[in-house]
Amino acid sequence: MSEFGSINTLIEASYFVAAILFIFGLKRMSSPVTARGGIIWAGAGMVVATVVTFLFPGMTNYVLMMLAIGLGGILAWVSGKRVAMTDMPQMIALYNGMGGGAAAAIAAVELFGGADHGLTFGVLAVLGGMIGAISFSGSLIAFGKLQGLIRKPMRFKGQQIVNMLILVATVLTAGYLVVEHGANDYVILFFVLALILGITMTLPIGGADMPVVISLYNALTGLAVAFEGFVLQNEAMIIAGTVVGAAGTLLTQLMAKAMNRSLANVLFSGFGEEGGEGSEVSGSMKPIEATDVAVMMAFANKVLIVPGYGMAVAQAQHKVWELTKILLDRGVDVKFAIHPVAGRMPGHMNVLLAEAGVPYDIIYDQDEINPEFPTADVALVIGANDVVNPVARSDPSSPIFGMPILDADRAKNVIVIKRGQGAGFSGIENALFFLDHTRMLYGDGQAMAGALITEIKAI
């Protein structure tokens, strides 16, 4: 290897620089002020690491390599540029699955080679391959569910026992591969089992829990990359993979906590299978006209807007921002109150509002904004339902009891823009709609926001 000495030093040094750029990039991405620079730093790290890898001693197949990079890169570039912001969660799942698949492919090449790396490396190669394969097929299922290709959670009796049996079979095959360096047939069997496990693990999980699952697979892919990094003795993979594994695990926990679900709960049970039906809500919903809402808002001191995924579905965020600007110009204090799970994954609503042009400094987290509801003249709820349902605080028999909510019911007046009278995503009746100081503005989110703009301008 001595004739490659200086090249190896160059490669090692470049990987070191890439690792630093990844860590600083992620650090910068964790604050909205520096976030835009962060991804560029991390991107630079990726370019450095990729380019220098072409210099690796003893490699061939450069044409195939360029072709694969070109194909994968162009497909991902085009799809990434085109995807709508509302579809972002499933796109992240798809790219994440690709990473898991790549890690599994590395393990497969190592295992098919049949080389004896010793016990430790054998275990790491197999473990990384298994996690990568599970992450690959699981992420594809998650993509299919969020994209609406797979509509219903598939559950049957004894499902967890079947999953457990597949897991045991996968681990046994893996053990055999490590100890016996088994024939190629066993390598194929191992990967088929791991891929099936990823599918059967993900199928029973409901769409609402999918963000937590995607985040978990993101962390798992990181771990798989780190393990394969140890096998290939590649420092950049070890460090980047481990950092993502740890960061992704923490992010998964934060998301699960925000949704009031434990990770075990998400993985091993469906939503709505626990808890009771919830008590009946008494009273009536009181409708209101846009003209009256316009007057209330125009002469208010403080208006808090609570957007939900329904607003994004109605494509109303641009109109809502226009409405906000008119109110701000009139001197009304307008703020956006965001529940951690507004949208389809934590932080998704912020992305959708940012797309409409809403600056991030008038957007507030639940913990920051909840103390302000009692001083707000109007809370405007648009397209949100379960996240403002006060039974989560008061009714222990409700399935959503204990979930942290936005205290919209504590505002002096509550206006709810809603299409019809139906219950929310979880099918739970919303007590907020029946309160004495709540008025319902029935109609399409975009049309109603437009009507409010016209009415306020006319005042």
């Binding site: 860590i23 990039g25 992620l26 991405m29 964790s30 909205p32 991390a42 990726m46 990729t50 890898t53 072409f54 690796f56 003893g58 061939t60 197949n61 990079i69 070109g70 994968g72 890169g73 991902a76 570039w77 799809s79 990434g80 912001m85 972002m88 796109m91 992240i92 790219y95 994440n96 990473g99 790549a102 890690a103 492919a105 497969a108 090449v109 993101n218 990181g222 990359v225 394969e228 003795q233 590649n234 993979m237 070890i238 460090i239 481990t242 950092v243 993502v244 740890a246 960061a247 992704g248 992010l251 925000a258 994954m345 934590p346 912020n350 992305v351 940012a354 600056p359 991030y360 400094d361």
Partner: protein
């Protein structure tokens, strides 16, 4: 050669860094940050390139090719969507200027 306890130390320290870096992230950035960390494990591309570069049999070539294809998709796709999302985050001051 990274071996034994040195490997464990690297693993431990890198895990700690990952945990610390994300520790105090505001909820508004959860989606872009998940996407950003998703991009970072696109480094798997580098390993897939090495695996393909050393592949000899047809089977190894095919799997190596798939690996590089998927790794490139992870890296490029992860970058594009993260950049698109973060590009939109602006404060009121930046809006007015």
């Amino acid at each position: 050669m990274i071996d034994g306890f040195i490997a464990l130390y690297i693993f431990m320290l890198a895990a700690f860094v990952g945990h610390e870096v994300i520790g105090r992230v505001p909820a508004i950035l959860h989606t872009p940050l998940m996407s950003g960390s998703n991009f970072v494990h696109g480094i798997v591309l580098v390993g897939a390139m090495v695996a393909l570069g050393r592949a000899e049999t047809t089977l190894e070539l095919v799997i190596g090719f798939i690996g590089v294809f998927l790794g490139a998709g992870n890296a490029v796709g992860g970058y594009v969507v993260t950049e698109r999302m973060l590009e939109m985050f602006k404060s009121s001051r930046e809006k007015n200027s």
